[in-house]
Assembly symmetry: C2
Amino acid sequence: MALVNEHFLKLPDSYLFSDIAKKINTFKVTHPKDKVISLGIGDVTRPLPKAVIEAMHKAVDEMAVRDTFRGYGPEQGYSFLIDAVIKNDFVPKGIHFEPGEIFINDGAKSDTGNIGDILRHDNSIGVTDPIYPVYIDSNVMCGRAGTLENGKWSNVTYIPCRSENGFIPEIPENRIDILYLCYPNNPTGTALSKQELKKWVNYALSNDTLILFDAAYEAYIQDSDVPHSIYEIKGAKKCAIEFRSFSKTAGFTGVRCGYTVVPKEVSAATLTGERIPLNRLWNRRQCTKFNGTSYITQRAAEAVYSAEGQMQVKEIIQYYMTNARIMKTGLSETGLEVYGGENAPYLWVKAPDGLSSWKFFERMLYEANVVCTPGVGFGPSGEGYARLTAFGDRDDCMEAMFRLKKWLR
Amino acid sequence: MALVNEHFLKLPDSYLFSDIAKKINTFKVTHPKDKVISLGIGDVTRPLPKAVIEAMHKAVDEMAVRDTFRGYGPEQGYSFLIDAVIKNDFVPKGIHFEPGEIFINDGAKSDTGNIGDILRHDNSIGVTDPIYPVYIDSNVMCGRAGTLENGKWSNVTYIPCRSENGFIPEIPENRIDILYLCYPNNPTGTALSKQELKKWVNYALSNDTLILFDAAYEAYIQDSDVPHSIYEIKGAKKCAIEFRSFSKTAGFTGVRCGYTVVPKEVSAATLTGERIPLNRLWNRRQCTKFNGTSYITQRAAEAVYSAEGQMQVKEIIQYYMTNARIMKTGLSETGLEVYGGENAPYLWVKAPDGLSSWKFFERMLYEANVVCTPGVGFGPSGEGYARLTAFGDRDDCMEAMFRLKKWLR
């Protein structure tokens, strides 16, 4: 008799975004004349850069001709892209990797979820809270998160990030085997300085903790003392795997490409204490359960690193970050406490008068016709907050700020 | 202390294709003048159909414009492709699915590997032998395959397919929880008639076995009594998940697209005997650890179903199947026992004089300058056989047959 993986049954059905959609629909039905502005989505809206479009057309044409057609590529990705990644994302920062340490993928979500395959089912987990739900859900699915006890998983350490501590996670007393860090952070939009990140690398080195570092938003960093890669910190190659994505950097959310860095130095232990390089295991995992990313997509990603590509990508990011500035100023003027938005496309707003995330969401929708994402959807410490994103249109951002000011005046 | 998943350490390093590459290189170095023809690769060589190329150019252009740009798509795939799949691959055979039963992916390899996520770690496994190594390796990685004992995994039932039984797997005495079937078969190139496949569906229904049916080569079927989908067999929706791929159908090995069918009826049990629909679990798995396939790729796949696309795809398949016929005739004329090649692009050749797979490979390379794949690389029952593929150029196929005839005369 085939048996299911019962860990899946522990997962509460995730209703956050469908609940939001339902509430918006209800509003639209009952208020057909009112135009709703959504600042809730975490998806980009600007079209792909010209250089990327040209590269894809060229690659498509190659696939039409016998001599330039490409079938199966390397599971780890084509060297033309891996070399571009190393040369552009790391060498300028004095960080050196061999090609074998970079794994091209179809987006960071796949690898942040799949990386658990190479790790033991009973490692303890640590996450900053609030956080991207995939980190926890993917661990629930393999039993690693333990059991749900009043809103928290028994084998997960939640490291609160709230206004009280300036959203800077404090080193926990207990040991953690696997720690997820996402900086610049989704959802709070806050960043960690080199000094702060160094504390975590040192914690990992002295506790033999594996850091899974999600740097999907590094392209939005403006401050010079905010590290773009965890490998800017000495010793990180021994304790960290880094996830990068072209989704928010170059508008690839619908194109699907990213990469994972698994340094040759990073290792984990067997029960007998033997050290095993994780690079070898991840390579074997990818060769067995993944068949590489589309050749056309990899050429698109390569074009992001061209001179034109870099210019065009920076323009798009500046567009979103200008939105973020407009929103931050506007929200401050309403008297709301607002965080983030300086090194990330997300703003994290504290609900006034101790309102819950959902109450704040509903008031904003019904009284200002603006959509946010209730912070509690990202974890217990998100209660009482809401996330606004800067990925929308300029005019919508400005109109939304106008409405919020009027609403809260 | 972070611990590794020690099941990975049980995996013997897979050397098959790198060993083959090394041996070919050695030959080329020592025989610089001799031109080697490779009939070993399992990858397509014809360029993409015109309809697919046009669809991709159009989709790329959409991504360049604000109003037609697409960001995140549904994790399950776009409805335009799901509808085309249902309408073209199933309705004509009288098989009906809801959109929610089809999951678009980035290729069959990912899902045949990842499907294990939703199944318990100690289900027993059954495979026909020889077989596509991913089925077994992905189960070794999560501990489901057990331990390796003289070339076989302790929790895996190997169902031998050899000339002695006409490559028709016999129903095993023991119960199997999860059974992998790949028909038309890689590597043997043989197919199962409706009658034969029905036996397995009935076995699954009476033993509560889950069948994982890999139909990646269905487009190569020529005989009318060979089912293209396991759902052509009554009752299969209750016990089978089917994997389809555009890789061999439309030359997508470098484009990456396929789909998985998880009927609403198919379920597995909890330890207490409760039935859980696998569709729900797989949907949750995909929403958590996958972010959909490239929009451009999905438009490419949609174009495969257009009138022009269908015509162009059939032409390519006929090209490969003509290669297969030429090879089958040629090999028979050499006096070798040859199987498959009638409903699949693979030919399975028995080594003469009881030669081992590797000896046969080396003789063919050194004495005829033709490359095959040693059958033993696909499992114990592959020993004494070699796989030849019909994916090469027409001229190479004919030249290779000429050489083999001369060699074995």
